[in-house]
Amino acid sequence: MKRLSSLLVTAFFVFFIAFPIIVSADETGEPLPNLTLKVPDNDAYRDYLGLKGQPGEDFTFEDIDADVLLIQLFSMYCPFCQEEAPNVNALHQAMLDFSQQDFKVKIIGLGANNSEFEIDHFRNTYDVKFPLFPDQDMSMYNTLGGKGTPGFIGSRKGDDNHYSIVLRQSGGFYQVEEFFNELLRKSGYN
C-alpha cells in the first residue's frame, strides 16, 4: 500500500506538474481578424491560396481557399524560427499530402518586422515552399496577438466563410505529426 502511494505521488507529479509545461496551445474560439494582404506575383502561391485577384491587388484571409488555415508568425532574425524552418516545411508537406478537394489545410507565414527582401532571404535560405508575407510594421502581428516568434495561430473556416481561432502556440512545435494532429483535432476534424 505504501509503495502504491509513492507510485501515485510520482505519477501525480509527472502528469500534473511536469506535463502542463509542454502544453502551450489553447483553444480560444474567437474570430480570426480578417486581415488584408497583397496577392503574390508568384503563380504557384496564387494557385495554392486559391486567389482570383491579380498580383498586387488586395485579398483577405477569408479569400484563401482553405478549411483550416495555419498562420506562422516568424522572423528572419529569430534563431528559433531558423531552427524550426525544416519542421515547418515538413508540416507544409504533411498538409499537402493530407488535403483533399473537400478538406484543405493550408499555411502562410507572416514575417514580423521583416521587409520583402528579408522574407525572400529566409525563403531562399530554407527553401520554404508556402507563401510568406512581410509584416514590416508588425501591425498584423499585433492584431493577431502575437507573443514572440515563432508563433502559430490555427483557424477553422465556418459555413459563414469566417475563420475562428482554434489553436494558438508560442514557440516551436518540434514534433510535426503531433502538432498537425492537434491542429486537425482542434479544428474538429474526425
Binding site: L7, T10, I21, P79, E83
Partner: protein, 199 residues
C-alpha cells in the same frame, strides 16, 4: 520485477516530459531585458566616410585577439556595433546576420560584432544564438574605448546600433547609425556591402 517496472515507468515519463519541456520553453525570450523605447541616438560621430578607420585590438569570445589592421589589403570589414547583450533588438540582429553570410562572402567582407559587454556575458548571450560564423568582440575595458573612437558610445555607456563599412585599404566607405530601437534592414547592409566592394 513487476514492482521494478511500476517504479521505472513514471520516471521514464518524467524524463520524456522533461525533455519536451526544455524544447518547448526554448523559444521564450524570458531572459531578455526590455529597456523600453530609448532616445534614438545619443552620441556624436567622430569619423566620416573617406577617412582611415581608427585601428583597434579587442578580445573575441573565441579567445583570440583581433586587430582591425590585420585585414588591411586582404578583406573588407564590417563592424556591427550593438548596444548591449540581452536586450530585445540586439538579440536578433546577429542571428539574422548568421544566415546572411553569403552576402558578406560575395563582397569579400569580414563581419566583426562588437558590444561594450565583457567576454563572459557575450559568451552566454551569443551561445543561445547558435554557432555564429563571425567573431564577436568585447569593448569592455577600457570601457567602450573603440566605440568612443568612432563616436558611437552613447551617453549611458552602451554603444549605438551602428554599422561601419571599411574597405581593404582601411578607408571608411559607409557609416550607418540607426535608431537604437530599430534594426537596420538587411537590404541596407547588402547595399553598403556593394558600395564598399565596388561590385
Amino acid at each position: 520485477m513487476k514492482r521494478l517496472v511500476l517504479l521505472i515507468i513514471p520516471w521514464l515519463l518524467l524524463l520524456f516530459c522533461g525533455t519536451q519541456a526544455t524544447a518547448a520553453a526554448k523559444p521564450f525570450t524570458e531572459y531578455i531585458y526590455n529597456p523600453g523605447t530609448l532616445p534614438a541616438i545619443a552620441s556624436e560621430l567622430k569619423v566620416s566616410v573617406g577617412q582611415t578607420a581608427p585601428d583597434f585590438t579587442l578580445s573575441s569570445v573565441a579567445g583570440t585577439s583581433v586587430t582591425l589592421s590585420q585585414f588591411r589589403g586582404k578583406h573588407n570589414v564590417v563592424l556591427s556595433f550593438v548596444p548591449a547583450a540581452w536586450t530585445p533588438v540586439c538579440s536578433d540582429q546577429w542571428p539574422g546576420y548568421n544566415i546572411a553570410r553569403s552576402f558578406f562572402d560575395n563582397h569579400d567582407a569580414i563581419l566583426l560584432g562588437i558590444t561594450v559587454d565583457n567576454i563572459p556575458t557575450l559568451y552566454a548571450w551569443t551561445r543561445q544564438m547558435g554557432e555564429l560564423w563571425f567573431d564577436v568582440l568585447s569593448d569592455f575595458y577600457p570601457h567602450g574605448h573603440v566605440a568612443d573612437s568612432y563616436g558611437v558610445l552613447r551617453t549611458d555607456g552602451t554603444a549605438e546600433r551602428a554599422l561601419i563599412f571599411i574597405n581593404k585599404e582601411g578607408i571608411l566607405t559607409g557609416i550607418y547609425v540607426s535608431d537604437i530601437n530599430v534594426r537596420p534592414p538587411l537590404e541596407t547592409v547588402v547595399a553598403e556591402l556593394a558600395k564598399m566592394s565596388g561590385k
